[in-house]
Every structure is written in structure tokens, then in C-alpha cells.
């Protein structure tokens, strides 16, 4: 379109454009040089080519457009200042400076200069709440069960190494700690677990023996908490009050003796003799704090004593309690958990 314009006006009106040029008040050196060169071109132009024709024509006819075009070589600032309308700017939102020194200081990186990193930061801050699709894609690739295959390979190759490193660290939990006790009393207990040896666990009351749990240990821990199966518990609830002082301390043998006595009251005398023989049998794994293990001493009146004492106290009690008080009980429990605090000792039963 421009060239058309030039050609259209190419024929006539040369003089008028020349005079317009000359009539400019202040002309830059560059402009003068151009004019000079342009006249030279006019003189030397023998074969008018498109470009050659365009050049002088541009100077003469396309002046208005080019001199006012800020991007062009032939921009005439003075002309632009005096032009009736502001020249069209290629960037409408361009930053405007008051003078050249302002522009210089801006270029040097004054306060608030839009460095690339600052621009990026500002943009990210503005977009804070908005979901960034790029980030979403990145996170998707990190998802474990993601069907995205190519990205997973990259991730898994980098993460498999730390995973391998992590697995090398030994796993330590209650089950793995059980076999570690070898060589200690708990190791002996572990042997009972492995070989399914029936054990007798002595259970304590606040003072003394409560009873015996006979069963198989499935699992244990350092506190002697036990998980047992197939448990037969023989126990006696602790006596209250005065009876504690009067009664001889309950031992395992005495416990079973009492049980037998309960079942068969006639076996009293025979039982006593057996007790004496049974006492010295001590368990190898004695971690006991068994109180007052009295060996020997008068036992003749012992069963009778405790029972009578119990009877005396029973007068005020509920009938149900009276029936059970001071008596030895047995029960069977299929699966039992015992808190280690209550364990006196564990006795693997002889094979």
C-alpha cells in the first residue's frame, strides 16, 4: 500500500514535497545527509528500480508516514512533536519517562526495576491461589499409582535407590525382637514359644501369689507381657484384712493342695506330707520376688486355720461371696493376654 502511494504520487508534485522538506525549521544532521544522498540518488538514478524509486519517493511522498513512524529510520522527532495528532505507538502500554536521564537510571536497575526474577516472583504471588496446571501435571507424575508411564520411570529410578537404602535398615518390632533375646532368660522363654512347650506362669497379687496360669505362650515382649493360649488358671482371690497376717503365705504347692482339699476334704493328712516333699523343688528360671517362702513349719492346722478364719469374716458378706471367698478356683481361658507386671515367674513344664 505504501509503495502504491509512492508510485501514485511519483509523477508530479515533486517540487511541493521538496519545499516542504526545506521549510522544516530545525533539521538534524542525519536529515541533511539524507537529503544530500537523496538528491544524489535522484541524479544517479538511471534505471529506476523499485527500491531506488521507493527511497526518494519515500523521502518525498511517504514523509508523513515515515517521519512520524517511531520505529522507522527516518523518524523526525521535531515533526512528530508539532504534528496535530500523536504518532501511533507500537506498544500502547509502554512505560513513559519524563526525560532521558530517567530512562538511563531505569536501564541501570533502579528501585523497582523489572528484573526477570522479580517479575516471576510477582507473577507467582499474584497467581497464588490459582491452580497452576503445570504444577498439577508435576504432582500427577509423582503419584504412586499413576498410569503415566514415562514420567514414572524417571521417578522410580531416582526413588528406588533411596527405597533400597531404607530397606537395608533392619526392621525392629515386637515380633522381630523375640528371637533376639537368645542367651537371656527371655531367650529361654522364646524357646518355649518355638517348641510349643507348656508353661506355668505364676501370677501375683498385691502381696504374694495369686495363682498359676498353665498354657502355651504365643508371643511376649521385654515387659513379660504374654499372649497365651489354652490357659488353665488356678487361683485364689486374696484374703482381706486380718487373715493376711495369720495365714501362711500361699505357695504354688499350697495352692494346689487347697484345691485338692476343696474337691476332696478327706485328703487333708495325706496332702500335708506331700507338701513337705514338694517344697524344695525350685524352678531354674527364678526371677521371683516370692515373699516368705516358708519351708517346713507347722502345717497341720494350716488348711483348717485359713478356712475358719474365712468363715468368721464371711458372716457379713453377700451369700455369693461367702461361697467363693478364700476358695481356690479354676477356669479355662482359650486366649489370654497377661500384663507382665503381674508375672512372678514362668516355669516351663517338664517334658
Amino acid at each position: 500500500m505504501r509503495t502504491e502511494y509512492y508510485f501514485r504520487h511519483g509523477a508530479g508534485g515533486n517540487f511541493s514535497h521538496d519545499s516542504l522538506l526545506r521549510s522544516c525549521v530545525a533539521v538534524s544532521n542525519m536529515e541533511e545527509r539524507e537529503r544530500v544522498s537523496e538528491t544524489d540518488r535522484k541524479e544517479t538514478a538511471s534505471n529506476p528500480e523499485l527500491e531506488r524509486d521507493a527511497d526518494p519517493n519515500v523521502e518525498e511522498e511517504g514523509e508523513d508516514a515515515e517521519t512520524l513512524d517511531v520505529c522507522s529510520e527516518h523518524f523526525n522527532p521535531l515533526r512528530a512533536l508539532y504534528a496535530p495528532a500523536a504518532p501511533p505507538l507500537p506498544f500502547p502500554n509502554i512505560k513513559c519517562f519524563n526525560n532521558v536521564s530517567d530512562y538511563e537510571s531505569f536501564l541501570k536497575g533502579g528501585r523497582g526495576r523489572a528484573k526477570p526474577e522479580n517479575v516471576e516472583k510477582k507473577r507467582r504471588k499474584a497467581m497464588k491461589g490459582v491452580a497452576d496446571p503445570e504444577r498439577i501435571e508435576r504432582l500427577k507424575k509423582l503419584m504412586v499409582n499413576n498410569p503415566v508411564a514415562e514420567s514414572e520411570e524417571g521417578e522410580s529410578s531416582s526413588s528406588s535407590q533411596p527405597r533400597r537404602r531404607r530397606k537395608q535398615k533392619p526392621l525392629r518390632n515386637v515380633l522381630t525382637r523375640m528371637p533376639l533375646c537368645k542367651g537371656s532368660p527371655l531367650g529361654e522363654l522364646y524357646r518355649c514359644v518355638q517348641e510349643r512347650i507348656r508353661v506355668k506362669v505364676h501370677i501375683r497379687t498385691f502381696k504374694g501369689l495369686r495363682g498359676v496360669c498353665s498354657g502355651f505362650v504365643v508371643a511376649f515382649d521385654k515387659f513379660w507381657n504374654l499372649a497365651m493360649v489354652d490357659v488353665d488358671e488356678t487361683y485364689r482371690e486374696p484374703l482381706l484384712g486380718e487373715a493376711i497376717y495369720h495365714e501362711k503365705a500361699l505357695t504354688v504347692s499350697r495352692l494346689f493342695e487347697k484345691l485338692r482339699l476343696q474337691e476332696d476334704p478327706g485328703a487333708a493328712e495325706v496332702g500335708e506330707k506331700q507338701e513337705k516333699a514338694g517344697e524344695p523343688k525350685e524352678t531354674p528360671e527364678d526371677r521371683s520376688d516370692r515373699p516368705a517362702e516358708s519351708r517346713g513349719g507347722g502345717r497341720t492346722a494350716e488348711p483348717g486355720q485359713s478356712e475358719s478364719a474365712a468363715d468368721k469374716r464371711d458372716e457379713g458378706n453377700v451369700s455369693q461371696a461367702r461361697r467363693k471367698y478364700g476358695k481356690v478356683h479354676t477356669r479355662h481361658i482359650n486366649q489370654l493376654f497377661v500384663r507382665g507386671e503381674n508375672v512372678i515367674l514362668i516355669n516351663p513344664q517338664p517334658l
Binding site: V174, A219, I333, F337, E341
Partner: protein
Amino acid sequence: MEPEAPAPPASAEVVNSIRERTIAENSMVVLLQGLQGEVTTVDLRNECTARGRVLNVDAFMNVRLEDVLYRDRQGRRTQLQDLFITGRNVRYVHIPDHVDIMETVQNQLAKIHRVRNFASEGGGRKEFSKKTK
């Protein structure tokens, strides 16, 4: 008060505290934690028994039970909505017959393991890698 709908069988939640998790992981408390949701009997040190549904067991064996039948030394029965037993006062915990001890322990340990390794490197990938590859 409206009757509550039956509670879900197992809360199946691991304690949030790392310390408690480690204590539980290395002791038999995990067995009791696996019993959460089951109806069991707890025998106490004071010769009393409490039968109810296990709500929660922590690393110190503190037990919370709901809908409890509490039987004291004399045999008197009391119905209780909610009972908290201090770990030290536990003597026995009856394990229901249908519960497999080893399996319960292993399941509970696996849960703890999963929770522990949830956000660590390797098992869970990081968004921004710390080191250049």
C-alpha cells in the same frame, strides 16, 4: 436421646504420636490395639472385671471401653456407658476366640509401618527434589 447406630467394628487408626507409636510397636500393646472394636473382658488388678467393647488402647495399655458390664470383687454388676482403665491396673485381657493373635499383631504392625513411612523419601515422592540428580 436417640439410640446410636452400631459403631463401626474397628477404628483402625494408629496413634499420631511418634513416641507412642514406637513404644507400641516394640511391645505387646499392639495386640491389644488390634483388638479395638472387639468385645472383651479386662481383669483388673483389684480383682474386678470389666466386659465391654474396646474403643481405644494406647501405648501405655490404658484402655477405653464402652457399654461395659463392670463386676466388682463382691460380684455386684454395674452397667457403665464408658470406662477408662489405667494401664497399670490391667491384669488380664481376654482375647476373643475368633481373633488370631499373630495375625492381629502383624496387621497392627503393618498399619504402623504404613503410617510411619507415609511421607518419607522413597516410599512417598517429593515434589521438589532436594539434590540434583
